[in-house]
């Protein structure tokens, strides 16, 4: 059964550094999302991406964040100048249609 994959599984970085989180969507999926989940808290929407552009973003998704599909397959989330409060699990989700989303296993980001 096809699944969403994410790399790395765990990323440790120093405050102020840039990180790139990578996601490989399920083949032929058209809708892409990033979420984050701070330990013990709820899953929070960051951004949705469709037809090669951002379709919606939350108030969390400020200028520090960006997304792209650099090669038409991978879907990346870049966080510039990381802060301590960016430490969280980051989940990629993809869907063939807008009504279903399949989540990857997540990347745990630790900012020191």
């Amino acid at each position: 059964e096809p699944e969403v994959t994410q790399t790395p599984s765990h990323q440790v970085t120093q405050m102020g550094q840039e990180v790139i989180l990578r996601c490989v969507p399920i083949s032929n999926h058209l809708y892409f999302y990033w979420y984050r989940q701070i330990l013990g808290q709820k899953v929070e929407f960051l951004v949705s991406f469709y037809n090669n552009e951002i379709s919606e973003k939350s108030e969390i998704f400020d200028d520090q964040f960006s997304v792209e599909r650099p090669d038409g397959s991978n879907f990346t989330l870049k966080i510039r100048s990381t802060k301590l409060e960016d430490s969280a699990m980051y989940f990629c989700a993809t869907g063939l249609a807008a009504d279903t989303q399949y989540f990857g296993p997540g990347t745990r980001l630790t900012v020191l």
Binding site: Y35, Q41, K42, V43, S48, Y50, S58, Q101, F103
Partner: protein
Amino acid sequence: QKEVEQDPGPLSVPEGAIVSLNCTYSNSAFQYFMWYRQYSRKGPELLMYTYSSGNKEDGRFTAQVDKSSKYISLFIRDSQPSDSATYLCAMRRNTGGFKTIFGAGTRLFVKA
């Protein structure tokens, strides 16, 4: 008032019991309603999704949506210890860019 409210539990039931999980919401624009299961330190797994009001059944799971009361439910019949997980409700509008709002999740323990 939060957009989506979900009792965090924990909810503990004996094996074989019928489990009822619920969420309330405040935004009448929500049209898509989803239930996810999340095991510890894993990504959410889509269980059920429903458009607008009504019931939907899939095996031991039944999802109900009552838009007039802004109330959704997930029932699990013949619960098993393997059902022990956190259950997340999620919902979004029919318009816009697919922003999905999650509840805080209810922790369920099914005792053998």
